[in-house]
């Protein structure tokens, strides 16, 4: 039933492969020596864009291979990969200000791929008698999974703790997304050109003093020293927190997963060596290692916040590596893996189809809890003076400022309570939301306790 590969698909596969290789190399270049194409990538954050380029390159290569191979399951894989690809390509210009033009070309390539995948002439190659039958086969295959997901969601709804957690997270997401509308950045842009820096009320500086002022009409949360507006700091701090949390947790998860899967797939001395390496990093308490890394990286010229994120990622990945490796080893020994292997599944297929879907739950849980941990860690580093630069809209940074005022004035010890209570509440609530969700998920997804 599987036909010859249509010529169009061959072309697309080759194109994707070539694009993939180019992007991969660009990404690697960017990470090592800096921006190789300033016209395409004006004033960008080379670290993150480089990483994303590598990701894009890998996806394109995979996409090329999938298009080359054909088959019903690959058809779905190709569509998913293309969609992810599109998302990232749109995201890059939006968040990092890379030039639209360069990505527009490859974006078009993706759209052509999608078009091709849906054409009737390609469907025989991908197996099946048409898209509808493939879709219905897909539905049948996924039905038990969907049932489990529905069951999970039902349990989530029943557990009020997870509802509370999820609502808190949604709240912060909204605050972060709507930050420019909730707290006008014009003043900041005027003063420093970076909307992430808090703005100073210069009038108040001149008229009153540099001391923090309590909540007032102009400053709903009051000001901290040098008359930075704390309301602005707290609102935009949500952005900073989400950015740090998601990037670091996501980054360390990706790295950890890759290394863990790599190690357990190959086994033998590769596994041993990688695990020793993981142990070594584990031997250092997280924050202390992060501290050391930041202290070493910043004098080399790396931006402080980037150094913090990098350091926390390095500290975080061993956890994920160990986790996925433990899961893979556990599942590897189960009987159904032997059964799968005995009917001829290749190792990679065994890993993706059998092991990963079953081991994804603990990883998900650790991810949600990790975001909270990362944000707390970044806040602690900011508090110690190693994180965000002074004046940056970061909750930890604001609290660092407030250390001088915890004793208030001799007459009223609580005079400056707002300087530390408010940002602290912001952080605590944020982390609590993620912790509640992760905790509830942990109880919900634990297979031994699910059906009680």
């Amino acid at each position: 039933m599987v036909e010859e590969r249509p010529f169009g698909t061959t072309l697309l596969a080759l194109f994707q492969a070539v694009t993939g290789v180019i992007e991969l190399n660009l990404g690697i270049l960017m990470l090592t020596i800096g921006n190789p194409l300033p016209t395409v990538f004006p004033s960008i954050n080379t670290y993150w864009v480089g990483l994303l380029m590598i990701v894009l390159g890998v996806i394109s290569l995979f996409l090329g291979r999938t298009l080359w191979a054909g088959g019903a399951s690959n058809w779905l894989l190709a569509i998913s990969l293309t969609l992810i690809d599109v998302t990232i390509r749109i995201m890059l210009p939006v968040t990092y200000g890379t030039s639209w033009i360069a990505f527009a070309a490859t974006l078009e390539l993706d759209i052509v791929v999608l078009y091709y995948l849906t054409r009737p002439s390609t469907t025989p190659f991908f197996g099946g008698d048409g898209i509808r039958s493939v879709l219905s086969k897909f539905k049948i295959e996924m039905e038990p999974r969907m049932k489990e997901v529905r069951f999970t969601l039902r349990l989530v709804r029943k557990s009020y703790l997870s509802i509370v957690g999820a609502s808190i997270i949604v709240f912060y997401l909204l605050v972060a997304l709507l930050a420019p509308f909730l707290a006008d950045p014009t003043n900041s842009l005027q003063q420093t050109g970076d909307p992430n820096m808090m703005w100073k009320d210069i009038e108040l500086q001149a008229t009153v003093s540099l001391e923090p002022q309590g909540p007032s009409a102009a400053h709903p949360f009051g000001t901290i020293q040098n008359q930075y507006d704390m309301y602005y700091g707290c609102i935009w701090g949500a952005r900073s927190a989400l950015r740090v949390g998601l990037y670091v947790a996501g980054g360390s998860m990706l790295i950890g997963l890759l290394i863990g899967i790599f190690a357990s797939y190959y086994g033998g001395w590769i596994d041993e060596a990688l695990m020793r390496f993981t142990d070594i990093i584990f031997a250092f308490p997280g924050l202390i290692l992060a501290m050391t890394l930041v202290v070493v990286l910043v004098p080399m010229g790396i931006n402080r916040l980037d150094a913090v994120m990098f350091a926390l990622t390095i500290v975080g990945w061993p956890g994920y590596a160990r986790l996925i490796r433990g899961e893979i080893l556990r599942i590897k020994n189960e009987d159904y893996i032997e059964a799968a292997k005995s009917v001829g599944c290749s190792d990679l297929r065994v890993i993706t189809k059998h092991i990963l879907p079953n081991s994804i739950y603990p990883i998900l849980i650790v991810f949600t809890l990790d975001i909270g941990t990362v944000v707390l860690g970044a806040a602690a580093l900011s508090f110690l003076g190693l994180g965000a630069p002074p004046g940056y809209a970061d909750w930890g940074q604001i609290i660092a400022f407030s250390v001088n005022w915890i004793y208030g004035s001799p007459s009223n010890p609580f005079a400056k309570w707002h300087t530390f209570v408010i940002p602290g509440l912001f952080i605590s609530l944020f982390v609590m939301g993620w912790n509640l969700l992760g905790d509830a998920l942990r109880d919900i997804l634990d297979p031994t306790m699910r059906r009680k």
Binding site: L161, R276, F277, D279, I280, I281, A283, F284, P285, G286, L287, I288, L289, M291, T292, L293, V294, V295, V296, L297, V298, P299, M300, G372, L376, A379, A380, F383, L384, G385, L386, G396, I399, S402, V403, I406, Y407, G408, P413, F414, W417, F420, V421, G424, I427, S428, L429, V431, M432, N435, L436, D439, R442, T448, M449
Partner: protein, 348 residues
């Protein structure tokens, strides 16, 4: 396998990890540009004026040597000479750390039993009474514990209990005590370096009380995060134990619910919880860094944090290496304890 063989094996396995940790730190140091590292060896402005400048200083101190040579010298300095370099004011890091160590040990000494007691009891209760009030309350408390930034919690506590109520002051001891100890011809003798114990040995009860008062807040903050983790782990291992067949068998023997929980479930549940206490040491070390800074306790954590703020590298490196060593050793001890308690491992 026998307990002794097991211990020996764990010991032997720990050494490469320590070695690797040292190697890792060394590798991180290598990232610092040579010129910057050379400045660490500069103790006076005259040195810079000698011809060759920083370059020469770098060469003298072997910074241009091949890496393995540098590593050899570094390790030798570390292990044999106990030379961790000098900090920004010229004080040898090793001495500075030793001077401040008792302060840190004191806090950890008081915090650990609190953490273990709260963590285990609450965890067992929680697991045994799943979803009832005790469980829900302790889960919420545990979550709050892991959500609060420890430095913030410390600040809030200081604001309330010190600025507001004047009950528990920061720092190790009050001014009176410092004057008493430091005065000419003082009857005070240092024995262990821990104020609480030494004050009892010296017979100065008022100093003992004062030191305790100063310890309340830091110990509270340190216990907060760590006991929350312990409660959580104990709870889940308790729940796991309660689901096992031997619990049904015990019930079928006619044992009371208390006996079943306390005797059968608990011991099995405590085993995984114990392994976490090894990791908890890591948590303590991190916690100590922040807590000491907030409360100005003068311990090694504060020293390292202050150094980091100034981008003064030697103390930070020294602290990091020390933390790794402590962590590996404590995990080793936990592994041995684990083998002792769980007969499955002890008897192979």
């Amino acid at each position: 396998m026998g307990l002794r063989t097991y211990i020996l094996r764990r010991l032997i396995l720990a050494i490469p990890v320590l070695f690797g940790a040292a190697l890792f730190v060394f590798a991180v140091i290598q990232f610092i540009p040579v010129t910057l590292r050379a400045t660490l060896f500069v103790t006076s402005p005259q040195q810079l004026r000698i011809e060759g400048g920083l370059d020469r200083i770098a060469r003298i101190n072997g910074l241009y040597d091949p890496i393995y040579v540098q590593f050899y010298y570094w390790m030798r300095a570390l292990l044999v000479d106990r030379n961790l370099g000098v900090d920004i004011i010229g004080q040898p890091v090793f001495d500075a750390i030793m001077k401040r160590l008792p302060s840190t040990v004191e806090i950890v000494l008081y915090a650990s039993p609190v953490i273990i007691a709260i963590g285990l009891t609450l965890g067992v209760l929680s697991g045994a009474n799943k979803d009832k009030l005790v469980d829900q309350a302790s889960r919420v408390l545990a979550i709050m514990g892991t959500s609060l930034p420890s430095f913030w919690f410390g600040i809030v506590l200081l604001s309330i209990f010190y600025a507001g109520l004047q009950w528990f002051p920061p720092q190790r001891v009050g001014i009176d005590v410092t004057k008493f100890i430091g005065q000419e011809g003082s009857p005070w003798r240092w024995y262990t370096g821990l104020v609480t114990i030494d004050s009892l040995i010296n017979g100065q009860l008022w100093i003992f009380v004062d030191a305790l008062r100063h310890l309340v807040l830091p110990v509270t903050v340190l216990s907060l995060l760590n006991s929350a983790v312990m409660v959580r782990v104990t709870r889940s291992s308790m729940l796991e134990a309660l689901g096992k067949d031997y619990i049904t068998a015990a019930k079928a023997k006619g044992l009371t619910r208390n006996e079943v929980i306390n005797k059968h479930a608990r011991r099995n549940a405590l085993i995984p919880a114990l392994t976490i206490s090894g990791l908890m040491v890591a948590g303590l070390m991190t916690g100590v860094t922040i807590t000491e800074t907030v409360f100005n306790m003068g311990g090694i954590g504060q020293y390292a944090a202050a150094a980091a703020q100034r981008y003064d590298i030697p103390p930070v490196i020294g602290y990091t290496v020390l933390s790794a060593v402590v962590f590996v050793i404590s995990n080793l001890i936990v592994d041995i304890l684990y083998a002792y308690i769980d007969p499955r491992i002890r008897l192979g």
